[in-house]
Each structure stands twice: as structure tokens, then as C-alpha cells.
Symmetry: C2
Subunit: 292 residues, 2 copies
Amino acid sequence: MINRLCIIGVGLIGGSLARALRGAQACAHITGCGRSEENLQRACELGVIDDYSTDIAEAVKGADMIVLSVPLRAMPAIFRIIDVHIDAQAIITDVGSAKSTVVQAARDNLHNNIARFVPGHPIAGTEQSGVEASFAELFNERRVILTPLPENKTEAVERVKKMWEAAGALVQLMPVDHHDEVLAATSHLPHILAFGLVDTLSKMSDRDEIFQYAAGGFRDFSRIASSDPLMWRDICIENSAAIIQIMDNFLQDLEALKQAIATADLDTVEAIFRRAKEARDRYTEQLAPSSK
Amino acid sequence: MINRLCIIGVGLIGGSLARALRGAQACAHITGCGRSEENLQRACELGVIDDYSTDIAEAVKGADMIVLSVPLRAMPAIFRIIDVHIDAQAIITDVGSAKSTVVQAARDNLHNNIARFVPGHPIAGTEQSGVEASFAELFNERRVILTPLPENKTEAVERVKKMWEAAGALVQLMPVDHHDEVLAATSHLPHILAFGLVDTLSKMSDRDEIFQYAAGGFRDFSRIASSDPLMWRDICIENSAAIIQIMDNFLQDLEALKQAIATADLDTVEAIFRRAKEARDRYTEQLAPSSK
């Protein structure tokens, strides 16, 4: 049970976590914090948070759990302020999609409080942004990866784990580097390809006509290109090492596939498509029928 | 009104067209044709077709409308047989996803009957295959592109147009080359990227774990990688000229995006993502709310 939860950044993820914990009665009081007073007022009206402050030092006062749910590049400055205003019992966690740079930012700014920071990442989201898009079920049966630091006490990790489980999530632990590699492959690269494809098409001279003839496959494929450009810019920059690695693999594979198409190499093209379909079909078998 | 419709290839597309035309009472009799007797029997049991033959010469006898709904590479041999068994009043059309090579195959094999062939392509489908997956509503409000030949009489084009409109589709005419360019961009490239991404991931050493952490974005993005590998192999080979062109554009853009990420060029990455989101959001505004 959390006594006072402070959510810094009350958007899709922060707002959904607040809603989920309130629904589960896992939290006595929720304070919101952010730069936009208008957004925080809206979050109050929606019942997502109990009160708010645009001042971080003020917002974290008395909190026993602090969740950073802000763009990756906003985290260092927030850690710096938290470091000098945090309560003795408080635990800090975050929801950043890349973990190496967040951990580095925490080490650079949290000083004596580094042991209280348990890095986290819920593998959930939609292409929508903002508190209006938040909903209590977002983390239901979804995975949350925690990448604990050597300095973390077991109890600190347990408290963050219990919070996410109360929100309905399945929590797993993983080393920081491994998290960043796995997410580069399964999330960051697909977003880059979707943004990239739509951008390539939007530069074509007959682009209006092109989009007019796009069908269901394109609609599903490109959905994530409607995601927040700033958030995804930050993710790409903050996880660039792992992303460049997987992009290199993909570019090499795509070049080989292009050569196979150009030379009418039926066997190679078929082998690639067949391997992909088998992997994709295996993957969907693991999903709930409703989410295939 | 079609008197005798002959559908060669009773799968997702051919089966759905039969169901739609029957539902609209636009067709008195439907004969199915294909290589698998088991599949044709199943189509009869499902009420999709009235009767069938595995012999093309037999199946097209007496038909006033013949629809080729087979893989692209199967078309030349079928045109050759149709050419000598077609009825005097019959019109031929197809549903191939690439049109230049189909038109060439028709010119090579239909001889004196080329004027009766009106090339077509319904922009509809799912990642499923086979007559079991067919449904009457597949073409509802979907676009069908016809790419008429100079030899076609207006009446022949009209008859094919009316057939698709009876099935619920919106029919538009377009030159062959332009069709192939537009489809390479909006359909063929997205499929290649989805197949390619899943294949790249499936070759990683920790692939089982990788897929385990894939979330909703990946699920939507990769759905089309569950499509029929043989059908898509054929599409890539048959539309290779237009596909190689758009792949080159995309590879160049993706390489530039990679460089921007590698050099932490925030402005360039943001500009690409923002342009893509704007184009994607404009595109979804044109869609019905239910299909966004």
C-alpha cells in the first residue's frame, strides 16, 4: 500500500498508473506534478489525481513513492531537484523506454539517494498521448520490466514490483543493457520503420493519391507513426547505441531482400517471407485471442 | 446481371467476391475452378459456389464473366487455356496485385481475345487465406482499381465495373504503370518491411525472449507478416521494377535517419517523425472512425 504517490508527468502512462492504483485501492493519496497547470487541473477534474503542484520540490514532499513519467530527456533535471527534497522513506522509479541513459542520469544526479531509484519500464501504451487518453486497464496483463541497480535494497525493488502488480501488470527483472537491446528490436525499430515509411510516402509527388489507395495493411502497419514525435525522438537519441545496431542488421537484411527481388531469386524471397510468417504466427499463438 | 460467373481460384478474394455477388443477387450461377478439389468441395458446402470443375476448359464453358483470382505467376498458363475455350460473350478480369506483368501475360496468351480482358485489382484483403476466411463484406466501401487496355470496349469495362459495384466496392480507373507505382508504395513496401522486420528479429539469438516482450505496436505493425508467403513472393517478383524504386527511396531515407540518430541530430529526427505523424493523422481523418 502506497501512502502518498507522486506522479511527475500525468500523461497517458502516468495517468493510467494513477487510475489503476486508485481502482485497486492501492494508494491513499495521489499528487500530480508537471509543467502544464492546465493539464494537471484536467487530471484533477477527471479524478486521476487528488491534487497537484507545478513545483517538483513541493510535489514530492511527504511522498513514499515517486514515479517519473516524463520524456527521457527531462529526467536529469528532475533527479537533481528530487535529490535534495526527497523524504527519508521514499522510493523513486521511472517509466522510461530506454534504461541505460536514465540510469546514468540518476547516477549523475541522485548522489546519496541512488539506492532508492529502481528503474522501470511498462511495455504498454497506445499511439495516443495525454491524460485524456489514460485508462485504468492499460497495464492489465502487460509486462513491466524493472532493471534494478546493484545498490537497490530488495525491499525497494519489492515495493515498485508490488505497485505495478497492483496496477495489473506482470513484472520481470532484467539487466539494463539487455532491456535496451530487446526494446530496440521489438519497439523502437518498428516505430522508426513506421515513421520512416510514412515520411518516404509523404515526400512523393502524388502523395495525396497514394494515401487514398492505402488499405488495411498500411493502416495497421503505420498506426504507430501517429505516436508523439518528441517522445520518440528522445527514445531514439537515448537508446541510440542499441538502435543503431539493430538498424544495421535490418538495413543489411533489407538490402539482401532487395537484391533477391531485383534478380527474381524466388527461393530466397520465399524463404525470408516463410520464416517471417512462421515467427509471426508463433508469436500470435502466445497472445490472447482478443488481441491478435 | 451476370448469368454464369466462373471464378478461377476460390480463396479469400475469389470466395468473398462470390459471396458478395450472391448476396446482392447480381449473379445467377457461380462455377468455381481450382487445383484443389477438396477446397472446391468446401466452397460448395459453404454455399460460396454452385458447382465446380478442376478443369479450366470445362469451368469457363458458358460463362459470361470469368474472374482470375489466382497467384500472379499462375495467370499466363490460365490465359492460354481460356483463350481457346472462352464463350463469344465472355469478359475476363483478374484481381492481381501487380498489373504490368498480368497485362503482358494476357497479351502473350489471349491472342484474339485480348479486348475482352479488363485488368482489375481490389484493394482489400486480410492476412488470412483460403475460402474459409472469405466473407461477403470484404469489398464494402473498398476501392477496386481497373486498368483498362486500349483494346477494351467501353461495354466490357462497364460490365466489370458493375460487378464490383454490386459487391459493394468503389471502382476507379488508372493507367497500368501508375497502379503499380501506387501499390508498391502503399501495399507492397509495407508488406516487405513487416516480413523483413520479423525475419531480422527471428534470426536474433534471443528471439524467443524478444517476441515475448513485443507489445501492441509490434503486433499491429507485424500483422501483415502473417500473410501468404507464396502470394507475396509472386507480387514482389511481378512488380519488382516499381518495388525496387520505392525500396531505394526508403533505404536512402532510413540510412539518413540512422545517421541523424547516430549523431544525436535532434532537429532532423524530430522533423522526420513530425512530418510522418502529420501525414498519418491526415490519412486517418479520411477513414471511417471505426477503422482508424
